[in-house]
């Protein structure tokens, strides 16, 4: 047993944890960019669900990649615009530091704008391919997993789809408006396991696949159980 877990009193959960999941229908919007200047304009004007699609949601679509994939904007800036410095800055944006899409949009706008200010020529150089802004319509669904105990919670974590992991672990902060996730919130508030809740929230989603993330979560919960 870890010292952190040992120091935390474990009680029966005050409320069950309902594992949900989400599905997404992709729309193609009318926004597109053939230059970095057009990317900046579209970043400012596109609907919020476009920003969500190309950041939060793309992590789910590419959940199996362990390295080198952060968000669609960074990927396009590198592959179609050949601007590695800007791509690196965009890739460093961690969606988990944002509790609203508006804040996230502002961060991207700020990065692109500050990069283009000193070199307007770069802004107008045509990209090798167009960036098409898409958007997600989200449907949230229940799963058959409900945890009334920590054992059932671990069982749910082992068996739900990666879509459910993404829903509770990554998308959740937009709903919660907190720098946290549904799993950590439940462990902290309903089970009284503060340290495991913190440990779970520290898992790095950018250097792991969602299956890796799932395994790390299960290990944390199993340690808390022993």
């Amino acid at each position: 047993m870890s010292s952190a877990a040992a120091a935390t009193p474990q009680r029966a959960p005050a409320r069950p944890f309902y594992f949900n999941t989400s599905a997404h229908l992709l729309r193609i919007t009318t926004y597109r960019a053939d230059t970095l200047a057009e990317l900046l304009d579209a970043l400012r004007e596109c609907p919020e669900d476009s920003i969500f699609q190309h950041t939060f949601r793309t992590l789910q679509e590419h959940h199996f990649i362990r390295e080198g994939f952060s968000n669609d904007f960074a990927h396009w800036v590198l592959s179609a615009c050949n601007e590695p410095k800007l791509a690196e800055r965009l890739a460093s944006v961690d969606v988990r530091e944002f509790t609203s899409v508006a804040e996230l949009r502002e961060r991207f706008v700020q990065i692109v704008d500050s990069y283009l200010q000193p070199s307007p020529g770069t802004a107008q150089r045509p990209a090798e391919e167009t960036f098409y802004f898409c958007a997600s319509d989200i449907v949230i669904m229940p799963t058959s997993f409900v945890a009334n105990t920590m054992q059932e919670f671990a069982e749910g974590l082992r068996h739900v789809s990666v879509h459910s992991i993404h829903h509770h672990f990554i998308e959740a902060r937009l709903r919660l408006k907190l720098m946290s996730n549904d799993f950590s919130q439940w462990l902290h508030e309903d089970v009284g396991l503060t340290e495991p809740a913190r440990a779970l929230n520290r898992i790095d989603i950018y250097t792991a696949t969602l299956e890796d993330v799932r395994r790390q979560m299960v290990r944390i919960v199993e340690r808390a159980l022993t």
């Binding site: 098409y132 898409c134 058959s144």
Partner: protein, 449 residues
Amino acid sequence: MEPLKQQSPESEQAAPELSPHQPMASPQVLPLQPERRKAPRTWETPPAPVPPPHLDDYQSIVGPAVLDELRFLAREVKARTLKMVNSTAVGGGVAEMLNRLVPLLSELDVTTHWDVITGGNDFFEVTKAFHNALHGSDYELTRHAQEIFLMYNEQNRQRMQFSEDVVVIHDPQPAALIRARAETQARWVWRCHIDLSNPHPQVWGFLRPFVEQYDAAIFSSQSFARQLPIPQYLFYPCIDPLSEKNKELDDSLVQKVCDEFGVDRSRPIVTQVSRFDRLKDPVGVVQAFKLARKYVDCQLVLAGGGASDDPEGALVLKEVREAAGNDPDIVILDLPPWCALEINALQRASTLIVQKSIKEGFGLTVTEALWKGKPTIAGAVGGIPNQIIHKLTGMLVHSVEGCAYQIRYLLTHPEFAAQLGRNGREHVKENFLITTNVRRWLLLLRRWV
């Protein structure tokens, strides 16, 4: 096509009758013959169709949670009815996809009907010309062609019933059926499977007013879409992991197919599967292979069809054979369209798959290769960049030299190649399987409940 059953007496002795639809119980590995068959043994007629799988058959592939999601989404649209309309019941990717999609939706209690429009040769000549023009070819749109198009659409409109809740019209051929809309309560969706990124202005100008009357349009790639005043959705094309072309195969069958076609599995195999069509650049693949082989030992397999029923295909095949010369490491196979199992086996036997297209639709042969976990090198055109994320799920190339380099690199870096293969398979599992496509249709229907 040459009669494929014709064989030399030596080849009769070398390989017993291959049953491509039943893996042999006890594999017999045969020594390679010094000379390959010019006309490898395959069936001359299509095999009997295999009954479509049930939803539960996919559980071992996608997991129970994905099927639970489908069942949940289906409950909300249960009792809704859907009609699919396209221009052919057999042959072509759309019919192949509908053959699997329609039973799966019906199994989920979304009653789905499938109607095929009828028309004379004059109609299909016009729609073939429209198809090519929408892909950017030159065309003179005459009033006569427009009249033929509208006349057959009108005939079909009068013949068909549209009592379903949602009517989905596939591709341009039946697009003018939207004129029946006023007589129905249905939502109308135009599912466009072709690349409209650079359409012939006159032809698109003629079709566009019809398209704008639909409730929504669906495209296979964001780059294929047009600016339209109606909602547009992105539905990637998909493959069926249980189809003859994609299902898991017993290694003994893979071995038998390689023996039959004279492919040596003890050496690296680089394969391109595609019609003999200039847009697939098979000659460029031969050139890339020859450049790469200066540094790495490998064989090239070019497997495809289209040379028997298409004069241009026969010409391209001749060019490919000339480019290959008498190279014993290049195997060129002109196969009939029903050799899905043989194609599957060749893909599975391959060390690398190449799809060096110059222009491409979505590129489902890439999807098939990725699904089989094969490191894949492909031209950065059409829908291929949706599937191949450079250096993560495969390698994108823009030239013969680039292709040659990537062949060399992947053959000499097997761990990196294997990682690409693993990522590629996961990418297909997440985004390009028939089960994902069923989910998209259910999500779309749900919008109109």
